[in-house]
């Protein structure tokens, strides 16, 4: 099994493991951010360039460094490889550049975006972005469109990670949306008025790293950090039925898949669970969902048992 060292931490991994996944096994600051890679998809990654790392030693056999930064999500580790992530000045500089590129055409409309609080781009910008912008030109804008009864596409926010297209390709038999046009005119779309109506298509909302695809049944209902995420399950014929229900009091505001520390769902869930099962009686609540990633949602301390003080206020 090849051994790889990332930011000074050495780990042994299965042959063929990518640098990114090796870093995830180490955890902590060694893990490069990923905006397009999604481990649950057969095809993803390589595009956003946020996970670029510096390979300072190629392998034990061929110790030459790699001439360019490489996408850690799609570069397999070699035995003896040494990688710089947070410890590489080159990487941090390039990543800052990538964040700037992702933001120049992004509307920065977080105050009215449902994704705020659980947005990968927000987190990335917080960590690597600059406080001002050097971009003076007009931003690219698109009309909002409904693609199907429950999903809204807000293309202006999209960072073209291709995850939603890859999800549809993998989960549905007949993909109806894709990437149209090219360059910075590229857009996610159906070309003709068409609805995404496959049983599993709702998952495009969960895989979207930004607020480009949002759940219309939840639209503008609440900020995510005001809700209490609860692990819940039900008997579902179509999917595992294992979800997170986002509650306010006794009311279920929305249903999502169960996301891990990297924002990836453990299982894809069906549309019925996601959009049509909002009655508390239909779910067995397991308990508070621990949000593994660092997030404003966790700041609500919904996991703690209510104390007297809270009771008094409540």
């Amino acid at each position: 099994m090849p051994k790889v060292t990332i930011d000074g931490h050495t780990i042994e991994v299965v042959e063929g493991t990518s640098i990114l996944n090796a870093a995830r096994q180490i955890g902590g600051d060694s893990v490069p951010p990923a905006m397009c890679y999604y481990s649950k998809l057969d095809v993803s990654g390589g595009k956003c360039r946020t996970c670029l790392v510096e390979v300072t030693k190629g392998s034990e056999k061929d110790p030459r460094p790699m001439p360019k930064l490489v996408a850690s999500c799609s570069t397999p580790v070699m035995d003896g490889m040494e990688v710089g992530n947070k410890t590489s000045a080159k990487v941090m500089d390039a990543r800052k550049g990538v964040v700037e590129f992702l933001l120049i055409n992004h509307p920065l409309d977080c105050p009215i975006c449902d994704q705020a609080g659980e947005c990968d781009l927000q987190n990335l910008a917080y960590e690597h972005g600059a406080s001002g912008t050097r971009y003076e030109e007009d931003k690219r804008v698109f009309e909002k469109i409904d693609i199907g009864p429950n999903i809204q596409l807000h293309m202006t926010r999209c960072i073209l990670c291709y995850r939603c297209v890859n999800t549809a390709e993998q989960l549905t038999e007949k993909r109806v949306h894709g990437v149209l046009k090219r360059g910075d005119a590229s857009e996610i779309g159906t070309f003709i008025e068409n609805s995404l109506d496959n049983e599993f298509i709702g998952n495009v909302i969960d895989v979207c790293p930004v607020g480009a695809l949002t759940d219309k049944t939840f639209r503008f209902k609440s900020r995510v950090w005001f809700l209490n995420p609860m692990n819940a399950h039900r008997n579902c014929e179509k999917c595992s039925g294992e979800t997170v229900v986002w509650m306010f009091g006794d009311e279920i505001y929305r249903v999502t898949g169960r996301k891990d520390a990297y924002g990836e769902v453990k299982n894809f869930i069906c549309n019925t669970c996601r959009f049509d099962t909002k009655d508390l009686a239909q779910w067995t609540i397991e308990g508070p969902r621990h949000i593994e990633r660092d997030s404003v949602i966790g700041q609500g301390h919904y996991e703690l048992k209510p104390t007297n003080t809270v009771k008094e206020i409540g």
Binding site: R49, T75, G97, V98, I104, G183, D184, S186
Partner: protein, 447 residues
């Protein structure tokens, strides 16, 4: 007169047709290879020849061939990259248009060497009329037993087809070409895996440029060692140079690598000097993506040595004072041209041609274009120059494919050598709309 290996027969009337081509010695190399050589021996000759990819990157062809995976029972493919789209480059078109059988012969030899039984020529869609020329020539080659089953009794089978693109520079990138040939958008693939392992339809694939494959014919005819004796150092053989811009005689020329830039630019045999007796301002010697050279670095290197038309000499001085041979697209600027305007124009090209997959290229090319457009039109700020420098720096090396570099290099080189012209545009917002800056000053070396 330099030696001609590809265009030596170009003036023979009817060389486009099979009969004339055959009479002039065409397909002799295939006959030789199939009868007297094993595939490995063909590869060996190409290795010995020192032939380097003629599409722009200049990677040794024999070495590229040796990377191809050979798993049992899996077909291998040879693809000819005829997606000639790099601004300044129009040499492959010339070969295919005028002597199509040379490419076909080169593809038969190369397919034999690589063990491919099905090969494709991917040609840019705008060259549809050349596609018809090639299809006609291919039909002739089939009719005369040079393609199809058991070619000339050798037991070697080969099918060859031509397939068009539809307007996308990016498809000249080999994995984008493969995607396009599969009927998809021309998005370059994330590597690894490389095409030599998993290419067209997930099979081992080699992609070579038109001129590269055509050069295999003289290599097999004369032997790799003889070919390696032509040219200079590691720049072996001959190269097609497509010359354009403000010169007296634009066109396609075959040169022996090592010819001096001065002779190429000023002699009547080639470019015939700057048009209308004007002065040279700058030159982009290898297609729009390579660094632009100011007049004082075109015929001489920074060390004062004569600059030669070779991979090494054109790159002498690195990006600080050199450029690249690239695809051989030789673009000449006279004293009345505006470098800022041209840089904006080239950047608009890359912006238009970016596939849009990866963020630095998708967003960065458009950003650079907008800033350059402002400067060109008298709305620039002094800090824009540093901004441009920083944006190109953050694109370069950080993208999926070389288009990012191709977009960054011209901007970097223009700022490096013509900064005073950019500053003049910003300081003289009105004047810059009325006249051009003229020549930049040659820096005085203090070392």
């Amino acid at each position: 007169m330099g030696r001609k290996l590809l265009l030596d027969r170009i003036n023979i009337e009817g060389i486009k047709t099979y009969d004339v081509y055959r009479k002039s010695g065409g397909y002799d190399a295939v006959e030789k290879a199939l009868k007297k050589m094993t595939p490995d021996e063909v590869v060996e000759e190409v290795k010995k020849s020192g032939l380097r990819g003629r599409g722009g990157a200049g990677f040794p062809t024999g070495m590229k061939w040796s990377f191809i995976a050979k798993p049992e029972g899996v077909p291998r493919y040879l693809l000819c990259n005829a997606d000639e789209s790099e601004p300044g480059t129009f040499k492959d078109r010339y070969l295919m248009e005028h002597i199509p059988h040379l490419l076909i012969e080169g593809m038969i030899l190369s397919s034999y060497a690589l063990g491919c039984n099905k090969s494709f020529i991917y040609i840019r869609g705008e060259f549809m009329w050349i596609l018809h020329i090639l299809e006609k020539a291919i039909a002739e080659a089939y009719a005369n037993g040079w393609l199809g089953k058991n070619i000339k009794g050798s037991g070697f089978d080969l099918d060859l087809h031509v397939t068009p693109g539809a307007g996308a520079y990016i498809c000249g990138e080999e994995t984008a070409l493969i995607e396009s040939l599969e009927g998809k958008r021309g998005n370059p693939r994330i590597k690894p895996p490389f095409p030599a392992i998993k290419g067209l339809w997930q099979s081992p694939t080699v992609v070579n440029n038109v001129e590269t494959l055509s050069a295999v014919v003289p290599i097999i005819t004369m032997g790799g060692d003889t070919y390696a004796g032509i040219g200079i150092g590691r720049s072996t053989g001959t190269k097609l140079i497509s010359a354009c811009g403000n010169i007296s005689k634009p066109g396609v020329y075959e040169i022996e690598l090592g010819l001096s830039v001065e002779e190429f630019l000023y002699s009547d045999e080639y470019c015939g000097g700057i048009k209308d007796g004007k002065r040279l301002k700058a030159c982009v010697p290898g297609g729009s993506s390579v660094p632009i050279l100011p007049h004082f670095l075109v015929t001489k290197t920074a060390n004062g040595e004569q600059r030669l038309m070779s991979y090494e000499s054109l790159a002498d001085g690195g990006f600080a004072t050199g450029s690249m041979l690239g695809s051989g697209g030789f673009i000449v600027f006279d004293e009345d041209q505006c470098v800022v305007r041209n840089t904006w124009n080239f950047t608009r090209f890359y912006h238009h041609e970016s596939c849009g997959q990866c963020s630095p290229c998708r967003e960065g090319t458009g950003w650079m274009e907008k800033v350059l457009h402002r400067i060109e039109n008298g709305h620039g700020h002094m800090h824009d120059i540093d901004l441009l420098w920083d944006v190109q720096r953050k694109i370069e090396g950080n993208t999926i494919c070389p288009l990012g570099d191709a977009a960054a290099w011209p901007v970097a080189a223009a700022i490096r050598h013509f900064r005073e012209e950019f500053e003049w545009h910003i300081n003289e917002p009105k004047k810059c709309l009325e006249k051009n800056y003229g020549l930049v000053k040659e820096p005085v070396l203090t070392v």
